[in-house]
């Protein structure tokens, strides 16, 4: 695709300063999301998926610092915007929904008002018709009896309902990009499917691009067009979903796939990936952070990571890909 992407992350590096040293959480992360595209960011816990999202949104913890990179969105670099300008964009042009919908909502504010707050803030409605607009949003995320539910507090609603409210908040101002950080974690399986379908439909309706952050490859395969695999703060492979599943090129992506239960693999044949994530505080981190767990390691792995294009939109950061 040659069109301007909705979001282009380029060379993004983030550090966290902690008491026990500087943690290089992200290093040279890059990927792009085209208009209306659904991209999955996958990887094990601690691989930097959520931090990537927080950095894009500009809501990193105070300890986190972006040390390099650009996040191009709507013609401007989000990282270069002032906090004030960024706040104007957040919730209107790019939105985010989180895991644990129950704690992600203000416990002592009626959910209708929480939706209305966003609408009023971004000029989606005046203070007077915001309650009506909020109820419209509740209808859109298919909450039954929206007039009554708008008056409810989060603790009076189920987890699935709360996630629908979150979606209503995120989509209230029709953003161009939605980042969904493990939106179905903590929900039961049937609710998971309903929530994913809902996000998919609403996205298709408005041509909104979506980034799904998940460790669930099966979910990613089912709902996404493209998959970006992360490991220890690096993007190791990015490919169209079909290509990645049929022919993963990075050894880590291959292991990750082998560790995913599916129709053809029995649970006892699932492989676990040996080793763990390296300690990101180390000063002597190898260029490839997977090298120490890798079976295909060669002498070339001591050089800086390559970005090899191995197919149409298929990039892998490995010296000896499969």
């Amino acid at each position: 695709m040659t069109a301007v992407p909705t979001l282009a992350v380029d060379d993004l590096s983030v550090e966290f300063r902690t008491r026990s040293g500087v943690v290089k959480v992200l290093e040279h992360v890059g990927f792009r999301v085209d208009r209306g595209e659904k991209v999955a960011l996958v990887g094990e816990s601690g691989s930097g998926k959520s931090v990537t999202a927080f950095a894009v949104m500009g809501i990193l913890d105070a300890a986190g610092r972006v040390t390099s990179g650009r996040v191009m969105f709507g013609g401007s670099d989000l990282l270069a915007l002032s906090e004030h300008d960024l706040a104007e964009q957040r919730g209107r042009e790019l939105s985010m929904i989180f895991q644990n919908p129950r704690t992600a909502l203000n416990p002592i504010r009626r959910v209708g008002r929480q939706i209305a707050d966003v609408l009023v803030r971004h000029g989606g409605a005046t203070r007077n018709d915001a309650p009506r607009a909020a109820i419209e949003m509740l209808k859109k995320v298919r909450i039954p009896d929206p007039e009554r539910r708008a008056e409810a507090y989060p603790f009076e609603l189920s987890g699935g309902m709360c996630q629908r409210i979150m979606i209503a908040i995120a989509l209230a101002c029709r953003p161009a990009l939605l980042i969904a950080d493990e939106p179905t974690t903590g929900l039961d399986v049937t609710t998971q499917a309903v929530i994913m379908d809902l996000i998919g439909e609403l996205a298709a309706e408005s041509g909104m691009a979506t980034i799904f952050i998940t460790h669930d490859l099966a979910l990613a395969a089912e709902y996404c067009d493209r998959i970006v695999v992360m490991h220890a703060g690096h993007v190791v492979e990015a490919a169209p979903a079909r290509d990645l599943f049929s022919h993963p090129r990075h050894p880590y992506a291959a292991k990750l796939l082998a560790a995913t239960p599916g129709e053809t693999v029995a649970l006892e044949h699932l492989a676990s990936i040996p080793g763990g994530l390296p300690d990101l505080r180390r000063a002597d981190l190898p260029p490839c952070r997977y090298a120490e767990r890798c079976e295909r390691r060669t002498d070339a792995c001591a050089q800086p990571l390559p970005q090899r294009t191995v197919g149409d939109g298929h990039v892998v950061a490995c010296w000896s890909p499969l």
């Binding site: 949104m57 809501i59 913890d61 105070a62 906090e83 960024l86 706040a87 104007e88 964009q89 957040r90 919730g91 209107r92 939105s95 985010m96 989180f98 644990n100 704690t103 992600a104 909502l105 203000n106 416990p107 002592i108 504010r109 707050d117 966003v118 803030r121 971004h122 507090y153 603790f155 009076e156 979150m166 908040i169 995120a170």
Partner: protein
Amino acid sequence: MLTMLLSRLATAIPSIVGVVVVTFMLTRLLPGDPAAYFAGLAASPQAIAEVRTKLGLDKSLPEQFVAYVGDLLQGNLGNSLSTGQPVTFEIATRLPASAELTLVALLLAVAIAIPLGVLAAVKQGTWIDHLCRIVTTVGVSLPVFFTGLLFAYVFYYLLQWAPAPTGRLDIFLSPPTHITGFYLIDSALTGNAETFWAALRQLALPAISMAIFSLAPLARMTRGSMLAVLGSDFVRTARASGLAPRTVVFTYAFRNAVLPVITVLGMVFSFLLGANVLVETVFAWPGIGLYAVNALITSDYAPVQGFVLTMAVLYVTLNLAIDFVYGLVDPRVRLDS
């Protein structure tokens, strides 16, 4: 909400009964014989016995208790042995003095502690955060009577900025017309600027000494609670939704963070009720604390009982009020009942 308040009120009744019993027993078991004290130093044993009969102290404890409860139910707390005045009347006239002092101190503390705590949390690690830490440390390490004495020494004796610590009003001024019993309010209502100013000057030192003491727990709790809430998921959601920083800090964070602060506020208020006794003594403040101390020294137990009972009722009312405010702020509490 109403049922919640009623059920809390029901649980308060046993505590009041308990306080009635305990105050009765305690004052009877205090060392010293009130009959001997009131008969005078040179009294014969016969005279002492007469006084004892007159005061009803010769009866058995259960009999005395029944008589005491009977009087209580009629709002009669007995007469003070030393002044001869009914205790109910004396407490009623002295309570506004204590209440005015305590409330002004509390308002002052809240007005400083809460903004300080919020700012310290929002700008964590900056000079205002350090200032907050210093203020809270200093506040807890200075006992009220010490600050009171220090202030009286510095501002009255050395600098002469403050009037003499001799009660609520300069002796040359007459108190304002009695409306609420609070001199500040009464003088403001009657438009008496001179009395208002004089009352305020008298009030400043004792109120500030008490405020400094109660500032510390309030500021510390506000800061801690704000920090916890600012790091919570829903504040992140609010920020991710692009809500204005003011909305995030006040409407989202502060309203949640204020809940534990309300609890601490209740505790601080009861500390202050206790601290009153010391401050009133230092500043000769004609409140119920000073009254109770004088009564205690002379084994005059009716005022002591009256004082403890008044405090207990105040405390129970205060806790009810706190529960009420809590219910207003937090919808989850409303449903629990």
